[in-house]
C-alpha cells in the first residue's frame, strides 16, 4: 500500500449486504487508481474563524429554557496523521442523537422525546497538539429499519478535513462495552482487525469531577506527506 492511499484493510467495503442500503448504492465497478496531483494534495482550510463561541459545547449551544437532559460527557482526542504527527488547527464537526436516542432531524420519526434544550451538532478546531474537546450529552441508542429489532449502538458522528481533500473522513465514535456493537452492520462492516479503532476509551483524566465523565477518541487521517506527482 502506498503511504497515502486509503487503506482498504481498515475501511469498510462499499457493498456490505447486511447493511441493506449498501445494496443499491455501492459502486459495483472497480475503483480506478489515481496518482495524486495538486488537486488531491490541497484541500479547504477551516480554522478558528469558522467556530462560534459555544460550538464545542453541546450542553450549551441548544439551550432555550434550561439544561439538556442526560449524562454529561467530555469527548476529547487527538487528530493524527499516519506517522503520528498531530494535525493542528483542523476543523472537527460532530452530530448526534439526544439522550433519548432522538435526532432533531426532521425525518427522524423515532418515537422518543426531543429535548428542547439540545441541538446535537457542534464543531471545534484542534489545538497545537492536534487535540479537540467537546462537552456533550451521552447519545441514546435508537431503532432503525435495517432488519427486525435493529438498534444503532450509542454513537457520535464525526467529520474531519485534515490537511488535504484525500484526508477527508466521516466516521462514527462508539462507546466501550456497548452490547449493541456485535449486532450493528454499520460497525460490523469495518474489517474485524480495525473495529476497535472506532470505540472510544473511558478516560478518568478527562473526567471533570462532580460534573462529567470523559471519553478519549483519537483519529488517524492519511496525512500530508504526499507531494504532487511523487507517485509517478
Amino acid at each position: 500500500m502506498n503511504h497515502n492511499q486509503r487503506d482498504w484493510e481498515v475501511h469498510p467495503p462499499y457493498l456490505y449486504p447486511d447493511y441493506k442500503s449498501t445494496v443499491f448504492r455501492a459502486p459495483s465497478k472497480p475503483l480506478i487508481p489515481m496518482k495524486h496531483t495538486l488537486s488531491e494534495s490541497t484541500g479547504p482550510v477551516y480554522g478558528q474563524e469558522s467556530v462560534g463561541k459555544y460550538d464545542n459545547d453541546l450542553t450549551k449551544n441548544g439551550i432555550r429554557n434550561g439544561e439538556p437532559l442526560g449524562e454529561r460527557i467530555v469527548v476529547s482526542g487527538r487528530i493524527l496523521d499516519i506517522d503520528g504527527r498531530p494535525i493542528k488547527n483542523t476543523l472537527v464537526e460532530i452530530w448526534q442523537a439526544n439522550a433519548a436516542g432522538r435526532y432533531i432531524h426532521k425525518v427522524d420519526q423515532h418515537n422518543a422525546p426531543l429535548d428542547p434544550n439540545f441541538f446535537g451538532g457542534g464543531r471545534c478546531v484542534t489545538d497545537e497538539n492536534g487535540r479537540y474537546t467537546f462537552m456533550t450529552i451521552k447519545p441514546g441508542a435508537y431503532p432503525w429499519g435495517n432488519h427486525p429489532n435493529a438498534w444503532r449502538p450509542n454513537h457520535i458522528h464525526f467529520s474531519l478535513f485534515g490537511s488535504n481533500i484525500t484526508n477527508r473522513l466521516v466516521t462514527q465514535m462508539y462507546f466501550p462495552g456497548d452490547p449493541l456493537l456485535q449486532y450493528d452492520p454499520i460497525y460490523q462492516g469495518v474489517p474485524e482487525k480495525a473495529r476497535h479503532l472506532l470505540v472510544s476509551q473511558f478516560d478518568l483524566s478527562l473526567t471533570q469531577p462532580d460534573f462529567a465523565l470523559g471519553y478519549n477518541f483519537d483519529i488517524v487521517l492519511r496525512g500530508h506527506n504526499a507531494t504532487p506527482f511523487e507517485n509517478q
Partner: protein
C-alpha cells in the same frame, strides 16, 4: 499508525454538516454557493442528481466539491474564493445538488476539473470522482487522469454545458451503480 475506518454519514447529517441549507438554527461552514459578485471567472451552476442502482434519485446524499479558481489556484490568497462547496440532496424537490460557482482554470496542465466527494446513507466509505467540462474537448483529450479511464466510461465524468435563461448550467448526474455507473477513483 492505522487509519481510522470510515463510517456512513447516515440519514441525519443535515443539521450537523449543512444546517443552513436545511433551515436549522445553526451556521454552516460551507454551502452550494461558492462565489460572490466579486469572484473572478465565468459564473456557472452545476446541477445533477445522484442515482441508485434502480435509477431512483437519492434524496439523502451529501456532495462536496473542491476546485481551483479562475487562475488555476487552490486556496488563493488574493481573493475570498474558498473553492469548497457542500450541498445535501434533501432540499430540492427533484433531489438535485446545486452549486453556484465559477469555472476553474486548468491546474498543472490538467484539463479544468472539480474534485467531487460523495457521501450518503448506505455508503460506508465516501467515494471520490471528478467533474470535467463538455466544452473542453481538446483539454480533456490530453488530461492525465481522464486518460486512465476506459474510453466508454469517460462520458460519465463530463458535465454537459447548457445555456439557459439563468446562465450557464452544467448538468451532471452521479450514477452509483450499473451500465452508466460514474467512474469513482481510488484516490
Amino acid at each position: 499508525m492505522t487509519q481510522t475506518p470510515s463510517q456512513t454519514v447516515g440519514p441525519y447529517f443535515a443539521y450537523g454538516l449543512s444546517p443552513q441549507q436545511y433551515l436549522y438554527n445553526h451556521t454552516s461552514i460551507a454551502s452550494g454557493n461558492l462565489r460572490t459578485s466579486n469572484t473572478q471567472g465565468e459564473p456557472i451552476t452545476i446541477k445533477g442528481r445522484v442515482l441508485d442502482g434502480q435509477g431512483n434519485a437519492i434524496p439523502d446524499a451529501m456532495i462536496e466539491i473542491w476546485q481551483a479558481d479562475a487562475k488555476g489556484q487552490y486556496n488563493p490568497t488574493d481573493s475570498d474564493f474558498k473553492g469548497f462547496g457542500r450541498f445535501g440532496t434533501g432540499t430540492d424537490p427533484e433531489a438535485q445538488f446545486i452549486f453556484q460557482t465559477i469555472k476553474p482554470a486548468s491546474v498543472d496542465g490538467q484539463a479544468p476539473h472539480i474534485t467531487v466527494v460523495v457521501f450518503m446513507r448506505g455508503l460506508l466509505t465516501h467515494a471520490y470522482t471528478r467533474l470535467y467540462f463538455s466544452d473542453e474537448t481538446a483539454e480533456n483529450q490530453k488530461d492525465i487522469v481522464l486518460s486512465t479511464v476506459p474510453e466508454e466510461r469517460k462520458n460519465t465524468l463530463i458535465a454537459q454545458r447548457q445555456e439557459t435563461p439563468e446562465g450557464i448550467v452544467y448538468q451532471w448526474d452521479i450514477v452509483m451503480q450499473g451500465e452508466q455507473e460514474t467512474v469513482f477513483f481510488d484516490v
